[in-house]
């Protein structure tokens, strides 16, 4: 195999430091391509040097060069549009053999629908003879005896495409920033080719092609945690890239399942081997289940104006959240939209903890405090507080012999709903709260990560006799929909008010002043939509975004926000948001499945919580 000429390695100051010892590296000049060998187990890091630069990628088996990445096979076997770090991470050949696997990706938007750019593309646009990735690939693959093609079916890393609702494939400027990369792992000896796309006639490369850098790392890096699987996500322009991480409990969870997904920056189980979401769900409803909710974000709010800040920024009346109590509510924006939902825990009038979903929650609170001139510190504490949820009818029985409260007068049986206390469980210090996201009696245990594995082991052992099972996200989602509990991005976002989302009861409108009050006073009078529960007259399950119609009419009255089949109720149910005129219990509406015309299923409006609407189980 002919190797590309490798010049003495210069020091590159325009890209992030290498992840580890580099076996080889290549700088691909704008508008060019290279080919290079990779052996089985080696890692390939493709780095966008300046940002907004597409890099097309080809891989062939080194021995015969007859096997190449096949995107149709890849999509079919993975069931996703593009492989991503996690369970569905591999790119496959036409014979279904894995060639490379995505280990890390800091961009999150790539293309495999289009060929690498072709001469024809430029000809049709009025640029005959314009350099193209396909011609460049032909040139660098010719020394290996590979026949030229008029267009190469490449993986177009950093190329921003999507399919719109009309079936058009749209292309826009790449999402990638300077230093963004994909890290691949070779599953066999390969001949690879990478380009720095020359397209300067549209926005794909930001109208200005720039270099790409490729680094090759040795297979021994598989033992290096830096090379762990991770997705890189950005939540705000002024927040750093965040790579998926393990929680304190993930190592234990990995022993029980390979089915992990990235959820809010943490690897969490979707379901467990030899169990599955149905079995896990029934464990929760009938016995007890244990789940890792460390993906929740925790912020310590301290200072003389801690109360003032939360009273203004949080929807509930914080006067009623006295030490040892917590309350569910939401952070609001000036137009009454929900920034995030979460729980405020009160330790003292100068010390609270906010537990929500977003890394930006703390920044939002801090900004409010600064604008108001309040003396308060908002500290992100998620790195030192990981949490398990032990939920189910037997959760209390499992915990009772294990827990010792710091305050001797507190007992597990006396710990009321939404109360919390410092305790030790099996000698492990933690915060124990009677909260949950399942609609069941249950507890959350907030612990320092260094004792996470020990806590997991302790609870799993203690619960064995009661039929305790670990719970994955699929089962959790089924349970929370039954219980009418909200999920960010489904029931609410920053354009949806609490009155629309179904948590208007969390808004303490009598407070003299709070964020969004003026807007909410108007919205409350007639929210554009309100949250309802639906029970469908079919065993088919609805889906997020499906339209809801007035019975017998063509016009819509709302949309599905979440849906599932309820094993307990033995019915297909949904959470939805509909116009107030159709929100009365008992009204019959129609859910438009498929294209909304071929199949309409009747549904009855009812309580948002189809399961235990009076919340009797959580208050046991």
């Amino acid at each position: 195999m002919q190797l590309p000429t490798v010049l003495p390695s210069p020091t590159y100051t325009d890209i992030p430091a290498s992840l580890g010892p580099v076996v080889a590296e290549y700088r691909i000049a704008p508008g060019t391509a290279i080919s290079y060998p990779v052996t089985q187990g080696q890692y390939i890091q493709i780095i966008d040097v300046s940002g907004a630069q597409c890099s097309d990628f080809l891989a062939f088996d080194a021995s015969t060069r007859s096997q190449e990445i096949d995107s149709t096979v890849t999509r079919t076997l993975n069931g996703v549009a593009n492989p991503q770090a996690g369970l569905h991470s591999k790119y496959f050949s036409q014979s279904m053999a894995p060639l490379v696997e995505v280990i890390q990706d800091t961009c999150g938007r790539h293309d495999s629908f289009f060929l690498a750019c072709t001469p024809r593309y430029y000809e049709d646009a009025g640029y005959p003879g314009h350099p193209s990735c396909s011609d460049n690939f032909n040139r660098v693959l010719a020394p290996y005896g590979m026949a030229s093609r008029s267009g190469w079916p490449a993986i177009n890393f950093f190329y921003n495409t999507q399919v719109d609702c009309h079936g058009n494939i749209l292309s826009e400027e790449s999402w990638s920033r300077p230093g963004d990369y994909v890290l691949l792992k070779a599953h066999q000896d390969l001949l690879c080719a990478s380009s720095a796309c020359p397209d300067d006639i549209d926005s794909a490369n930001g109208w200005q092609p720039t270099p790409i850098h490729v680094r090759i790392y040795g297979s021994e890096q598989s033992a290096n945690p830096v090379f762990s699987q991770a997705l890189g996500r950005r939540v705000a322009a002024d927040f750093p890239l965040r790579l998926t991480q393990d929680s304190a409990f993930t190592p234990r969870i990995r022993q029980l399942t390979d089915d992990l997904i990235d959820y809010n920056g943490f690897w969490v189980p979707s379901s467990f081997a030899h169990q599955g979401d149905q079995a896990e769900y029934w464990a929760l409803r009938q016995r007890a289940a244990l789940m890792d909710l460390s993906a929740l974000r925790k912020f310590e709010v301290t200072g003389s104006d801690a109360f003032a800040l939360l009273q203004y920024a949080f929807s509930r009346n914080v006067e009623k959240i006295t030490p040892g109590r917590s309350a569910y509510g939401c952070l609001l924006n000036p137009h009454g939209g929900i920034v995030d939902d979460g729980i405020v825990f009160c330790f003292s009038p100068v010390h609270y903890r906010y537990v929500g979903n977003c890394d930006t929650d703390g920044d939002w609170l801090q900004r409010i405090a600064q604008r108001r001139g309040w003396t308060v510190d908002v500290e992100a504490a998620s790195d030192r507080i990981h949490n398990l949820a032990l939920q189910g009818p037997k959760s209390r029985d499992i915990l009772r012999p294990l827990v010792v409260f710091a305050e001797p007068t507190v007992t597990l049986d006396s710990l009321g709903y939404f109360r919390f206390a410092a305790a030790k469980v099996g000698g492990i210090p933690l915060l124990l709260s009677r909260t949950g996201y399942t609609g069941e009696l249950g507890y959350e245990l907030f612990v320092h990560p260094r004792q996470g594995a020990q806590l997991w082991d302790l609870l799993m052992q203690a619960g064995r006799g009661s039929g305790l099972q670990p719970l994955g996200m699929q089962a959790l989602d089924r349970a929370r929909i039954e219980a009418g509990l909200l999920a960010s991005g489904y029931e609410f976002d920053d354009l949806i008010s609490p009155y629309q989302a179904g948590i208007g009861w969390t808004v303490a409108m009598k407070k003299s002043a709070f964020m969004g009050k003026a807007a909410l006073e108007k919205v409350r009078q007639h929210p554009p939509r309100v949250a309802v529960g639906l029970v469908l007259d079919s065993n088919e399950v609805a889906a997020y975004g499906q339209n809801i119609y007035a019975h017998g009419e063509r016009w819509r009255i709302g949309q599905i926000t979440s849906a599932t089949f309820s094993p307990t109720l033995n019915r297909s149910i949904a959470m939805a948001q509909v116009v107030p005129e159709y929100a009365a219990p008992g009204i019959t509406v129609e859910v438009g499945l498929l294209d909304g015309i071929k199949r309409r299923v009747a549904a009855t409006v009812g309580s948002l919580a189809a399961f235990d609407p009076t919340k009797s189980r959580v208050r046991l």
């Binding site: 089915d259 169990q275 979401d277 149905q278 079995a279 896990e280 065993n539 089949f565 094993p567 033995n570």
Partner: protein
């Protein structure tokens, strides 16, 4: 080796009302099964093994006329006996020899495969479904395989016992 081709009394049931029909036939317990989990029961006085393949998909090992029991329910499902599918049984005592030769794809796992559990797998590139369960109180490894692969599978199993 002890592999025995079993009678062709496998039924596949699936459709929108698959779960509802299964519950009517086998009781509420079938709703508690996770994917690839199974239970042993009786139906119209005959032994029956029920394997859940998905939310609304079931495979039933039953020697009786299941179609006669399902038809009156007029469900939104189909019930079929695949003529391209067959099954072998192996004594559970052969599990230590068989399972090391089998490969599975994530997220499925072979280790600690419990009773009443099936798993898609391959033995020497032959695709099959391995089902460990106790019909008539005798635990077996039941292998579901395409008829066209039966001979190859049989040869492959014999090679494990030189």
């Amino acid at each position: 080796m002890g592999a025995a081709v079993m009678n062709n009394s496998l039924w596949d049931l699936a459709g929108v009302d698959g779960l509802a029909v299964a519950k009517r036939l086998f009781g509420e317990d079938v709703g508690y099964l996770g994917r690839f989990q199974s239970l042993e029961t009786t139906l119209a006085g005959q032994d029956c093994s029920v394997l859940r393949l998905c939310d609304r998909n079931f495979r039933i090992a039953y020697s009786g006329p299941l179609h006669q029991l399902v038809a009156p329910l007029q469900p939104n499902t189909w019930l079929k006996q695949f003529d391209w599918l067959t099954r072998l049984s192996l004594p559970i005592s052969q599990r230590p020899q068989i399972l090391p030769q089998v490969t599975v794809r994530p997220p499925h796992r072979l280790e600690n495969l419990p009773n009443h559990q099936a798993i898609p797998a391959r033995l020497q590139s032959i695709p099959l479904l391995i089902w460990q369960h106790p019909p008539q109180d005798q635990t077996i490894l039941e292998l579901h395989v395409a008829r066209k692969d039966l001979e190859s599978l049989t040869i492959g199993l014999e090679q494990l016992y030189p």
